[in-house]
Amino acid sequence: MADLTIEARGLIKRFGKKTALDGLDLAVEPGQVVAVLGPNGAGKTTFVRSVATLLRLDSGELRVAGIDVRREPEAVRRVIGLAGQYASVEPAMTGRENLEMVARLYGQPARTARANATRVLERFGLAGDADRLARTYSGGMRRKLDLGASLVSTPRLLLLDEPTTGLDPRARIELWDAIDGLVEHGTDVLLTTQYLEEAERLAGHIVIIDHGRVVASGPPAQLKRRVGGNVLEVHVRDRADLAKVAASLARPGHAEPQVDEATCVVSVGAGDQAGIGGLIAGLRAIDDAGVELADISVRQPKLEEVFLALTGQESAGQARVRATK
């Protein structure tokens, strides 16, 4: 069996009084793109930085491609690539010079470095601009160059910390296309992102981190099942009925219905069998009250709802429990 791409056990990292990683456990199988999600300050960047050998863990065991990060950081550096939310390329050097420099720093002889730089430039559609200074590049081109710099070597794991933050939609899609297909070329990807659509678009496996721990990990479809099945959406004709409908569909012990004023839609997770019974009763009550409905539909939960249920909402639920006591 091939080594796990990442194997983390009980990672702890404190910065002063703040605990950034609080016993994080994670096992990532090879051959996939993994997206790490989490609210700001959840420990995403700290985790990526520790995989990239950039900081010393207080305790825990972390292996990348079977190599111990603490004992053999340099061997780890040989199998990883890192690209960040800031394009860390030298603006006063050309695209080609940037790539050749990184290739040489990977220990490649000049001739190999040149060949690899050319290969990357062609692959990312930068060949025509290869000999222009990077400071004349657009934001998207710079980000592609940054991504390409990690690929002049053939890393087993590419770490991308918020790769598309601050890019316009077109540049974002271009970068997604560039990330696609990396796995086929033998490079796994671990990316952090604040955009759930990005995670869903790129990743076959999603890890949700909160308070320095993994709170959920799995393929997107599996995570969606975890938050309680499908979502019922009730579309009312008259905005004034929204509150009444939401109240009818609320059931104790289940997630509260969400009201969207703009679209006149109340959405609520179906939940378990008892929950579904409650919903049917609720719908009957709505019908008895004579509320006019425009539409009713059932859909899969969005990743956003999974994310809120597993992170933000959890603490809101605890607050409610405290308030009723």
């Binding site: 930085r49 990239a52 040989r78 420099m101 190999t112 770490l159």
Partner: protein
């Protein structure tokens, strides 16, 4: 798979990676016209101003024509000014993740700092050469031998090594370019409260006490003494060797302290 095996065993050595890092820093200096042109214009402007605007008022200093007094002081004090940019670049590199990128690569990370020092020496050689040429053009003359003149030039490069570590430390501490620029401005009171531009005898007592016991004064005195050669004793009170040794001790002290600080700041990241 063969490429992985082939590149897997290789490793960029410390000297090779130092040169690569330095090359990037020098290119980024040379290809930023604002730095090269403005830096040079500024240098020439200040030298000319001191020589012709203030020079007339001073007449002679310590019995020397003001141009012979001020040019060596100006060149010595110009060393830290030339290297202020190092603090800014270092802070920006940290801020933009450039240093993270470098540290995630499999080469000795000491090269990140060593490369910076090497690049600083190259840039400093360039700007010292210009300052010296302008100095001669406005009437400065060596009173000692050519060899002593070259020794003065070399001494300035040694000061540069020391200040390189100072500004790298400030850059690593600052966190962003603007803060680094602000911190680096601390060099102003140090250069103006020294013997670089005017004799310390003209200063009020408290300032004179400070000026006589700080590194820029000892560096300016050393360069001035070498420019005077055998006449140093007559004008300055001690032989050139005395001033040179004093300035080398300051340089060594600064280098040791700030080397340790810079490495500690770098590792902490």
């Amino acid at each position: 798979m063969t490429t992985i095996a082939a590149t897997g065993r290789r490793r960029a050595t410390l000297p090779a990676s130092t040169v690569l890092i330095a090359k990037r820093a020098v290119l980024s200096f040379l290809r930023t016209p604002q730095l090269v042109v403005l830096g040079t214009v500024q240098l020439v402007g200040i030298l000319v101003t001191f020589r012709y605007v203030f020079g007339g008022a001073f007449g002679t200093s310590q019995g020397l024509p003001y141009v012979d007094f001020a040019v060596p002081g100006f060149i010595a004090a110009g060393v830290p000014f030339t290297l202020i940019g190092t603090a800014v670049v270092m802070a920006e590199d940290l801020h933009t993740g450039f240093i993270d990128r470098l540290r995630s690569l499999p080469f000795p990370s000491a090269a990140v700092l060593a490369g910076r020092v090497l690049a600083d020496s190259v840039v400093l050689t360039w700007s010292l050469a210009i300052a010296t040429a302008v100095g001669f053009a406005i009437g400065f003359r060596l009173h000692g031998s050519i060899l002593q003149g070259l020794a003065a030039f070399g001494l300035c490069l040694v000061f540069g090594l020391a200040f390189s570590w100072v500004f790298m430390t400030l850059g690593l501490l600052a966190g962003n370019g603007q803060a680094a620029q602000g911190l680096a401005m601390l060099i102003f009171p140090l250069t103006f409260g020294s013997s670089a531009y005017v004799p310390v005898e003209t200063m009020p007592g408290w300032l004179r006490a400070f000026a006589e016991n700080q590194p820029i004064t000892s560096m300016a005195d050393a360069v001035r003494a070498l420019a005077l050669g055998g006449h140093a004793q007559d004008f300055l009170g001690h032989s050139a060797a005395y001033y040179v040794i004093r300035s080398l001790m300051w340089s060594a002290g600064i280098m040791i302290v700030f080397f340790a600080l810079a490495v500690a700041c770098f590792r902490r990241r």
